[in-house]
């Protein structure tokens, strides 16, 4: 009796998981399929591949200056990631290694600021960028995100695992504090940096609201903004949009499949 009950439970578990897996994967399948179909066919729910792939790609490449758009996306996400990692790891290291009661209070205050919603910052930030006269520039997109409290917190947590013997040994060898950071800490903590790179790059690459506000001309647009722009309007061409959506998803998808373990570690890092 209880054995057959367990069997039913087992079957239900597999059923639920299979359904969840199907629902999770289907939109990806739909996106890939959509690149081969015309917009009308996609809207009509056609489930077989069509012959519009080349046409969709050509239309996508002609919709905007895509080379420029890709350059913008990679520059903003790449430079933003490098600067965030540098500033945040310096701070995380500084908070953990050089302790003082006053700085602990600052750190506590920073954790409270974690819950400040971006919606409350975007208007003053926009006005600030306007008064600096840097609306529609790369620096306007990148600057506000560099000092990420989340990433600082992540690095501070990770620094707890950095052996203090290494630091002491480096000091005895006569290294200055900044040299210890760049020549000892950074190489030793490279897997922490790798995990952080993934999450920060993804967040920057996918960022939508702030670039939408500060980037105003077509030649400054990122891939995310281009896909959004293609969607606006009354008759969006979904075949073309699917090509754009794949282009926007591909970098993060590749990173995910290449570095799956590290990817997940990076996401979990901050709560340990």
């Amino acid at each position: 009796m209880s054995k057959s009950l367990a069997l039913i439970g087992r079957a239900l578990t597999y059923l639920a998981l299979s359904l969840a897996a199907f629902v999770s994967i289907f939109p990806f399948f739909w996106m890939v399929l959509g690149t081969t179909n015309t917009s009308a066919d996609i809207i009509r729910g056609k489930t077989t591949p069509g012959g519009a792939l080349v046409d969709n790609i050509i239309k996508f490449l002609n919709s905007f200056d895509i080379a420029r758009v890709l350059f913008n996306s990679f520059l903003i996400a790449g430079l933003g990631t490098v600067l965030t990692l540098l500033v945040a790891s310096l701070a995380g290291y500084g908070f953990e290694v050089f302790r003082s009661r006053f700085r602990e209070k600052i750190f506590g205050g920073m954790l409270l600021m974690l819950s400040i919603p971006f919606a409350a910052l975007m208007i003053p930030l926009f006005m600030m960028m306007a008064s600096f006269r840097i609306i529609n520039t790369y620096q306007a997109v990148i600057l506000p995100g560099i000092a990420s409290i989340f990433v600082i917190f992540y690095f501070r947590q990770a620094t707890k695992a950095f052996p203090s013997e290494l630091r002491d040994a480096a000091r005895i060898d006569g290294l200055k504090e900044w040299q210890i950071f760049f020549y000892v800490y950074m190489p030793v903590m490279r897997s922490t940096y790798a995990a952080a790179t993934i999450i920060v790059f993804m967040a920057n690459w996918n960022s939508y609201l702030w670039p939408l506000i500060v980037l105003q001309t077509n030649e400054m647009k990122t891939l995310t903004l281009v896909v959004a722009t293609l969607t606006a309007g009354y008759t969006p061409d979904f075949g073309v949009i699917m090509v754009g959506a794949i282009a926007a998803t591909l970098p993060t998808l590749i990173i995910f499949f290449l570095l799956q373990r590290r990817f997940v570690e990076g996401m979990l890092g901050a709560v340990k």
């Binding site: 578990t13 050089f98 003053p124 504090e177 993804m202 609201l209 949009i241 998808l253």
Partner: protein
């Protein structure tokens, strides 16, 4: 860099009092130098804006012309039907979507935590996959899936679950359903990963003992797993709350807040007030402070609940 530690021939030096205070001073200076870039940036791009926003919420006027309005904006809030709409929509999304998503994540995680489960790696990767997509890309995909003649309606018609196609994005009720499903699709796997990681830290022998004592599966889940995961559940509840309160990308792309403001959220309303209509920055700042207060209050409540249950 300044004032590094004197190390050459240092052992004797360090024993002397002067060197010790030198060391302490250098630690102080270095402590500030390492965190300074972050502090300066946070000051400029976070502390100053949030204070400016507070000041602005007491200003009235259009565009860049401001004058002090006292509580005018707060009074306007209470009389603004669009704001009330946006607020109730946001709270509705919060109350419906976050519990469903966290419950699903918890159930999937506990199913996948079974090491005897066949195809575990596949299921885990599949359910996690949605959070790799960009918000914009998946919103667009969902928009095409839920078109009037789209694949969602085709499938439901074929399964005979509905008789007529549902006008998903033009019907207030169904538009909300689509938005909630979309967010749930995107974030369930993300939360599941947190639960899975935490479950791996639970001592297996607790389950073994409970099993021997004849505790049924659901009771093991409810009385062992859930209490053990409380800190992580709290963490995911707080982050999901903050995320949902700031909901913008999906509604902007899927429905643009429509039909007739049925999916308008607070963030979208702030955006509209500032950048789509004739800018009304002061009032928009007031609305943004509503989110600040909501986030603060809800985080506090969740924190208190979690602390209370621990006793």
């Amino acid at each position: 860099m300044v004032a590094e530690v004197e190390t050459s021939g240092s052992m004797q030096d360090r024993r002397r009092g002067g060197a010790a205070s030198n060391l302490a001073r250098s630690e102080q200076i270095n402590g500030w130098l390492f965190i300074m870039p972050a502090l300066v940036l946070l000051g400029i791009f976070m502390v100053y804006p949030i204070l400016w926003s507070l000041w602005m919420s007491f200003q009235v006027g259009r565009g860049m012309n401001f004058s002090f309005g006292g509580f005018a904006n707060i009074i306007r809030l209470t009389q603004d039907p669009v704001f009330i709409r946006a607020l109730s929509n946001t709270l509705l999304f919060l109350a419906v979507q976050v519990p469903i998503m966290l419950m699903l994540a918890l159930l999937f995680a506990s199913a996948l935590n079974d090491s005897k489960l066949w195809g575990r790696g596949f299921f885990r990767t599949a359910i996690f996959l949605p959070c790799v997509t960009s918000l914009v890309a998946y919103s667009v995909i969902f928009k095409s899936i839920f078109a009037l003649d789209g694949i969602a309606n085709q499938a439901l018609l074929a399964l005979q679950l509905i008789e007529n196609p549902i006008n998903w994005l033009s019907d207030p009720f169904w538009a909300r359903v689509v938005v909630i499903s979309a967010i749930t699709w995107r974030w369930t796997g993300y939360n599941m990963i947190f639960y899975l990681a935490a479950m791996q830290n639970i001592d297996r022998s607790i389950y073994e003992a409970a099993k021997i004592d004849g505790v049924p599966t659901w009771a093991r889940f409810w009385f062992i797993t859930v209490p053990m995961l409380k800190p992580v559940i709290l963490f995911t509840a707080v982050t999901s709350t903050i995320g949902t309160l700031q909901l913008f990308d999906e509604v902007n792309l899927l429905t643009n807040g429509g039909p007739s403001d049925a999916t308008l959220t607070l963030s979208l309303y702030i955006y509209n007030l500032s950048f789509r209509f004739m800018p009304s920055f002061g009032y928009a700042a007031t609305v943004s402070y509503v989110i600040v207060i909501l986030v603060g209050v809800l985080s506090l409540i969740q924190f208190l609940i979690a602390r209370d249950r621990r006793r």
